[in-house]
């Protein structure tokens, strides 16, 4: 064992475990090897040094936390205007305070917390958050920024504790803390009203609690074991509740749990009952508890947002009925469709709108020169249609006739109320989608031809059922050609008033394009019922909200000819993001990782893969390693393996994503990669010290190495700190700029 490497801070990595929970490293080595190693080690740490150790550790943790808070809260109020995505998330915080309904592609927890922080710190939700660069003036914004900075600052102690737990080495943990404290990227991202600090907080908290509960594995079902296990679950729910990226940490914890259970299952000293207990405990804490919490955030979300707002149009008609201020709220309309009813028909696809027609014809050369039929997003008299029987033209509203309900499978005619033309289709190609048929308005005063006949069908229903307002998902099938009425979602040119194209598609596949529902319904002969009866249940709301979010996320596609950030740019710190300001007179903040830290991380991943595979092959070849090296290799393979897995889980999936990507998506992965760097360099330096043990100065190699790394990182932070804390003055090309000579890559624009 190397004599007192690590400057007395660390002691031995193979020390018999202290405290309530044993180290994972020691467990990994196995009891035999561990005792062997301690027995063989010539020097044991002196009892006196151990006495000071616990206070020393606490002091170090306090120091790390202090540094982290100091850097994150320094100049938090600058700049006093909206930076970058604050315009979205600040606005959404305001929506919570004003209780207006909105739509966002991320789950609600992060924005709810921002809203809560704003509310508690005296922000009244009146600031408009219109565009980046707007001054906050008298509005109180520091509460929200402070909340995010607080969570962002906690990342560092979390990372510190995680690495400490994995490696049992203080220098490794210190190095990690320094890497993250002095990274300008993490710093910048933590200082503004964004979802990322909240997301990263939950990810790191989940990771820490997972590692802690792994360490408690030798005392299952004890109080700390339960505590850490359930905390893991809570944090998983938090991570998923902020952004769907939280799924990656869930996968990681899931993988850890499965391998843990597999290990327990193979332990024949445990009876099946015990294994069953273990399984149940994990299902409870890692599946049931997070799901319950996640659902609860949605319950709160829908409870708080009960007023009509900008998000209404994204949701179905039934959903809108919940929101006060929406015209469907507290409305009462007849429940079942009958002949003679006046209705509006809405497409089930998001942001397509209502079936619409108007007194303009298709232009010359585009199909038959008949009246246009489109879909239109706004409410309008031209959206109204009357349901008529296909074979008679008598007025079904004649009070002498009995009410006749429309049933699934009936053949009907839809007459446009304003122009009295029938919905019509024929074998002419549609204006934009050439493979589909054109849909027109045809006939005079409701008299047309057999091409006006449509069969109305309810999706997944039996024949003969009545058709419900809002709830029934219907398809309209053209009787003559057999095609299905649908909206292609394409925007018509100017002649079509830039409304969306309606076609009749000969492909009978069930897609949302060809599914419609009835929204407004007027029929004086039928009794009105309150729409509250039709209100969707909570699970239905949850499901719909998720569908809309997923579709929204998929809709965020990069445009052609636009420079977009690619995942391979990120680890090499290829290009940052402008948070604020462009010109030399502006107050500029630029999100860019500290290049020294990031490139060290990159190097470390390569080094880790190299050293990890050397050790793995050596072990597989059955090489007999000296006890110290064996211990280090276990830490490297097990602890490092978990961190590497975390990095991969939070990075590689982005290569598969079709949506538009930004640089800040890499930061969760960067946390893991920094932890790996800390762990790796500590081990490498220890190995160095061990292999040079015959030289007199060998003991200092480790200390010196760690110290020089710490100093180098701190110095690079001194160089690059204007990126995060803001800079005014000439751009970096100018020698008078604070950043002169630091634009190491052409692609950095500061």
């Amino acid at each position: 064992m190397p004599p007192a490497v690590g400057g007395g801070l660390a002691g031995s990595e193979l020390r018999p475990r202290r405290g309530r929970c044993g180290s994972q490293a020691a467990r990994a080595v196995g009891p035999d090897v561990a005792t062997e190693a301690t027995a063989r080690s010539p020097k044991r740490p002196a009892p006196s040094s151990r006495r000071f150790e616990a206070p020393g550790r606490w002091a170090l943790l306090a120091l790390v936390t202090l540094m982290s808070f100091a850097t994150r809260f320094h100049r938090l109020d600058q700049p006093p205007h909206i930076c970058w995505d604050e315009t979205h998330f600040g606005k959404m915080g305001s929506y919570y305070i004003n209780r207006t309904f909105f739509f966002d592609v991320h789950p609600p927890l992060g924005k709810m917390l921002i809203g809560l922080a704003g509310h508690l710190s005296g922000y009244d939700g009146t600031f408009l958050f219109q565009k980046p660069g707007d001054e906050y003036e008298h509005h109180s914004y520091l509460g929200m920024r402070g909340f995010c900075a607080f969570l962002g600052a906690l990342l560092i102690p979390f990372a510190y504790l995680t690495v400490l737990e994995l490696s049992q080495s203080l220098p490794a943990a210190l190095l990690t803390a320094a890497l993250l404290t002095f990274d300008t990227g993490c710093l910048t991202l933590s200082q503004y009203i964004l979802l990322d600090p909240i997301l990263m907080f939950f990810i790191m908290a989940a990771m820490l609690s997972m590692v802690k509960y792994n360490s408690c594995a030798n005392r299952p079902f004890s109080a700390p074991w339960w505590l850490w296990l359930s905390l893991t679950g809570v944090n998983l729910a938090g991570a998923l509740g902020v952004k769907f990226v939280g799924l990656f940490i869930i996968l990681q914890v899931g993988w850890n749990t499965v391998s843990d259970l597999w290990h327990l299952f193979g332990d024949l000293s445990l009876s099946m009952v015990t294994v069953g207990k273990h399984l149940t405990a994990r299902i409870l804490c890692l599946i049931v508890l997070p799901l319950a919490l996640y659902t609860a955030t949605y319950a709160v979300h829908f409870m708080v947002l009960n007023r009509s707002g900008p998000g209404d149009g994204f949701f179905s008609s039934a959903f809108q009925a919940r929101l006060s201020g929406n015209n469907l709220h507290n409305a009462s309309i007849p429940e079942h469709l009958a002949y003679g009813s006046v209705i509006t028909v809405k497409s089930a696809r998001m942001a397509v709108g209502y079936l619409h027609s108007h007194g303009h014809l298709y232009p010359e050369g585009i199909g038959a020169r008949q009246q246009q039929v489109t879909t239109y997003l706004h409410k309008d008299y031209n959206n109204l249609w009357i349901i008529k029987k296909h074979n008679t033209n008598s007025d079904p509203l004649d009070p002498s006739l009995p009410v006749e309900f429309v049933r699934h499978g009936d053949v009907i005619r839809l007459e446009h109320k304003e122009t009295s033309r029938n919905l019509h289709s024929h074998y002419h190609e549609a204006p934009l989608t050439r493979k589909h048929y054109q849909v027109t308005g045809y006939g005079i005063n409701g008299t047309g031809d057999s091409n006006d006949f449509w069969r109305i069908e309810v999706v997944n229903r039996k024949f003969g059922n009545r058709i419900k307002v809002l709830r029934s998902r219907i398809r309209l099938i053209h009787l003559v050609t057999g095609c299905v009425l649908g909206s292609s979602g394409k925007v018509l040119p100017k002649w079509g008033w830039e409304q969306l194209e309606v076609t009749c598609t000969p492909y009978l596949k069930e897609t949302l394009n060809s599914i419609w529902n009835v929204e407004d319904h007027i029929n004086p002969k039928l009794p009105n019922i309150s729409l509250d009866v039709l209100q969707p249940s909570f699970p239905e709301i949850m499901l719909e909200a998720h569908m809309v979010m997923i579709r929204g996320n998929n809709g965020l596609k990069p445009k052609d000819n636009e420079f977009t950030s690619k995942p391979w740019h990120w680890p090499i710190n290829y290009q940052g993001l402008r948070f604020s300001g462009i010109n030399d007179t502006d107050f500029r903040v630029y999100l860019l990782g500290n290049p020294v830290v990031w490139w060290l991380n990159l190097l470390s991943i390569a080094l880790y893969l190299l050293s990890g595979s050397i050790f793995a092959v050596a072990l597989q070849r059955g090489a007999r390693l000296p006890a110290e090296v064996e211990g280090l290799s276990q830490v490297l393979l097990q602890g490092g393996g978990q961190l590497l897995l975390g990095w991969m889980m939070h990075y590689f999936p982005f290569f598969l994503m079709g949506r538009i990507l930004y640089f800040h998506h890499y930061f969760p992965a960067m946390l893991f990669s920094s932890m790996l760097t800390g762990l790796l360099w500590d081990i490498l330096l220890r190995l160095c010290a061990w292999s040079l043990a015959s030289f007199s100065l060998a003991g200092h190699v480790h200390t010196l190495g760690i110290l020089s790394l710490l100093l180098g990182i701190a110095y690079s932070f001194y160089l690059f700190h204007p990126l995060a804390y803001g800079m005014v003055g000439p751009l970096a090309q100018d020698p008078r700029s604070p950043m002169a000579g630091l634009r190491w890559l052409e692609s950095w624009d500061f």
Binding site: D560, F563, V617, G622
Partner: protein
């Protein structure tokens, strides 16, 4: 020397009549009436046009897959003497007499026919009985979807053939690992694995999944090899190197070879040229090469050039201007400079010509000697037909209001000064003094006053701009993007100072005589990159389906319909085979998990070699199904039933494997329930912990748990070979007599000490957990 005189010459031939018979019926089923129908069937209309291109040696571009598959089909045409003269325009069209239908369809049919004996070989090499192997081959033989697909000019049967070949040769290789590493047959199968993988990838990109599967299995086997301590380090290294060369290097080389042949054959320019860069086009005979031959290489002041945008999306186009001006007020109320429009135009036109001018001089002709333009020089670009200068200024562009408008400057005397200086930035320069070269240089034009960059935004202008594409000055240039890069395509030195003469000169075709040859790697990487990035517009199709429809055959494709007799060809599977194969996969998965869990609790239902065989069969067959099926859920292109056929083939192979396993092991347990279990085990087998026994299929499960007395005997020192001895006996009435060495337990060392603990040897084997 004359040894053959002393000994009789003996030729021993092992002919497996099963294989011969299977090959024969395979050929019969695939080749019978191959030339019927003499009409274009389904996707033949698509592949046929490429065959014609190959026959005529005209370059084409197809983003759907690498060229090997197309080349195979074309080989059939070549052998049949096809001249390429057929208009592949609609399904159902009758073939003219010059189309050798039979030989065009021959190679896919042969590939389909040979899949039948290969299925037999694979199941046999996996260590299952001849009966199961014949079953697998028969199932492949009578699967009508496979037959339909093999009998037409389509690629799936060849893909399936090479997938199976890769798996088969890997199995042969790994089975020869035990008795003759580095023997000729060992090398042969190893290299063949790599070549077959490359062929599969070369036919369709989905072949890459089978390749990855084989690589994965090889990696696991190699990992066990590393753990084999009887081998010296050098020998292990040799093993690893051989595998790396054969499975990584050779496939890459073979894949490159396909492209090499492809580009060698297709040397003439054709209809798809425009997708490629000017340099690439110049390497083809005819087309651009004819125009650009003899062009001066270095662009000089006074040069007349056309500038092509490098991005090529939405369409390849040239920088263009014309007399029309921007409308004073756009439809949305914003104003413009009302100066002359500058656009990007996707057709050759005299208005695409620009003259490179030195800002310091007035002349528009080239000096003698020409003064070349270099990186960093400031130039003006004069529009040839209107002699107006390319200009940009702080006016919002018509469709991209965040960028600057680009115009040809007209002086309206409205205090809007001309800003027409551009600095030349050669992107692919080697030094900072590089000369601007025709075709080869990729340049950006940086505006001197505003540092905006000339960029194609790609948005089509409204009617006032004749639907040409918008060109803007982009101020916040973020890194390299193809849309900001331009290259000179046509080029000549201007000779006429007078505008009238110059117009004549511009209208005249350019002269011609040096061909610029791009290296193969440059051409390969450009072609491959374009193939991977080209976006096909996602078109609906009447017969397209989703992956979920495939498993239970909820979809079909009508391939062909005779216009008069209503004779038809449909792609439709045999529902019995599909359903039972899916069921077999499910049964396999459940059984595998069951065995795995029980082994974890040290209950070994299967003897070790049997378990390894079972696992390897699953990894290759069920794994082959999964890797060829699951990725389709993530693909956004239009999918058809035939995409499922490679996955189905692997799934079919699993069916007899599962059946044999059930009849040999599970049914056997049922029979055993009547007899005392200890009749089979050796002493002490049942001394196990009762909690373990509760989870079994029954207490008669063979427990491979060590017993107390074994532990007393010194369990640590037990040899695994001993265990083999115990289980090495035949144990079933249907068991075949040839006890082959357990597959996959590569490198198990008889001398290896077994792990500590009383549950000794079973644990050691579990730790080995080979496939």
């Amino acid at each position: 020397m004359l040894g053959f005189l002393q000994r009789p010459v003996v030729v021993t031939a092992d002919i497996n009549l099963n294989v011969v018979a299977l090959t024969a019926v395979g050929l019969l089923s695939r080749l019978w009436q191959l030339a019927y129908p003499r009409a274009v069937v389904f996707d033949e209309v698509y592949y046929g046009q490429y065959i014609s291109f190959y026959m005529k040696r005209i370059f084409f571009f197809d983003g759907s897959g690498p060229p090997f598959g197309h080349m195979l089909l074309a080989l059939g045409g070549y052998l049949g003497g096809f001249d390429g003269n057929f208009l592949w325009n609609r399904i159902g069209a009758e073939y003219s007499t010059n189309v050798p239908v039979w030989s065009l369809r021959l190679l896919p049919a042969l590939a389909g026919a040979l899949s039948v004996p290969m299925a037999y070989q694979i199941v046999w090499e996996l260590g299952f009985s001849h009966c199961a192997a014949v079953g697998a081959a028969l199932l492949i033989l009578i699967e009508n979807a496979l037959i339909t697909q093999s009998r037409l000019m389509l690629l799936e049967s060849a893909l399936i053939f090479f997938n199976l070949l890769a798996v088969l040769s890997y199995l042969k290789f790994s089975n020869s690992q035990k008795h003759g590493p580095f023997s000729p047959s060992w090398w042969f199968w190893l290299v063949l694995t790599g070549v077959a993988c490359a062929c599969a990838v070369g036919i369709k990109y989905v072949g890459v999944f089978t390749y990855l599967l084989v690589l994965g299995v090889a990696a696991v086997h190699a990992w066990h090899l590393i753990g084999d301590q009887t081998l010296s380090n050098v020998r292990v290294l040799c093993h690893l190197l051989a595998r790396a060369v054969a499975l990584l290097v050779i496939p890459v080389l073979v894949y490159l070879l396909f492209f090499y042949v492809h580009l060698l054959v297709l040397c003439r320019s054709g209809p798809h040229d425009q997708i490629m860069s000017s340099a690439f086009q110049a390497s083809l005979e005819g087309g651009l090469a004819r125009i650009t031959q003899g062009q001066p290489l270095e662009v000089a002041y006074g040069s007349q050039v056309t500038l092509k945008n490098a991005f090529g999306q939405p369409v390849p186009c040239w920088l263009h201007s014309h007399q029309s001006t921007y409308p004073v007020i756009y439809e949305n109320g914003r104003g413009s400079s009302h100066q002359q429009q500058v656009t990007c135009y996707p057709f050759k036109d005299v208005n695409n010509w620009w003259i490179v001018k030195d800002p310091g001089r007035h002349q528009l002709v080239v000096n003698n000697p020409p003064r070349p333009v270099r990186h960093g020089d400031v130039v003006q670009l004069v529009h040839g037909m209107t002699t107006r200068l390319l200009n940009t200024h702080d006016v919002a562009a018509p469709l991209s209001p965040h960028s600057q408008e680009v115009s040809c400057y007209i002086d309206y005397n409205v205090s809007m000064p001309a800003q027409n200086l551009w600095r030349l930035d050669i992107v692919n320069r080697e030094s900072d003094t590089d000369v601007w070269k025709t075709i080869l240089s990729e340049v950006r034009f940086v505006h001197v006053n505003t540092s905006a960059i000339l960029k194609l935004s790609g948005a089509p202008l409204p009617d006032w701009g004749f639907r040409q594409l918008e060109v803007v000055g982009e101020q916040l240039s973020r890194g390299y993007h193809g849309s900001t890069v331009w290259s000179v395509e046509e080029h000549r030195y201007g000779r006429s100072q007078e505008q009238k003469e110059r117009e004549l000169e511009l209208h005249s075709p350019t002269q011609t005589d040096v061909s610029r040859n791009l290296s193969f790697m440059a051409r390969f990487s450009e072609l491959q990159w374009r193939m991977l990035t080209v976006r096909s517009d996602d078109s609906e199709h009447k017969y397209s389906s989703t992956p979920l429809d495939w498993v239970m055959l909820d979809t079909n494709i009508a391939y062909w319909l005779h216009p008069r007799t209503s004779a038809q060809i449909h792609l439709l599977g045999n529902i019995v085979i599909w359903a039972s194969a899916s069921l077999a996969t499910l049964v396999y998965a459940l059984l595998f998990i069951w065995y795995l869990f029980r082994r974890r609790r040290r209950v070994c239902d299967l003897p070790e070699d049997c378990w390894l065989r079972w696992a390897l069969a699953g990894a290759l067959c069920a794994g082959g199904w999964a890797v060829n099926y699951v990725p389709f859920f993530m693909m956004e292109k239009t999918l058809f039933l035939y995409h499922y056929l490679p996955a189905l083939t692997f799934q079919i192979l699993l069916l007899p494997v599962v059946l044999e396993h059930i009849s040999d092991h599970l049914c056997r347990y049922g029979a055993l329930a009547a007899t005392p279990p200890w009749g089979y085990g050796s002493r002490g087998v049942l001394n196990g912990d009762s909690s373990v026994m509760q989870m079994g299929l029954g207490s008669q499960a063979r427990l491979c748990r060590g017993s107390e007395d074994e532990a007393n005997e010194g369990c640590r020192e037990r040899k695994v070979a001993d265990v083999h001895g115990r289980w090495g006996r035949p144990f079933g009435p249907g068991e075949r007599q040839e006890q082959r060495e357990g597959e996959g337990n590569v490198g198990r060392d008889p001398e290896q000490p077994v792990a500590r603990g009383r549950t000794a040897w079973c644990m050691a084997e579990i730790n080995q957990e080979a496939l």
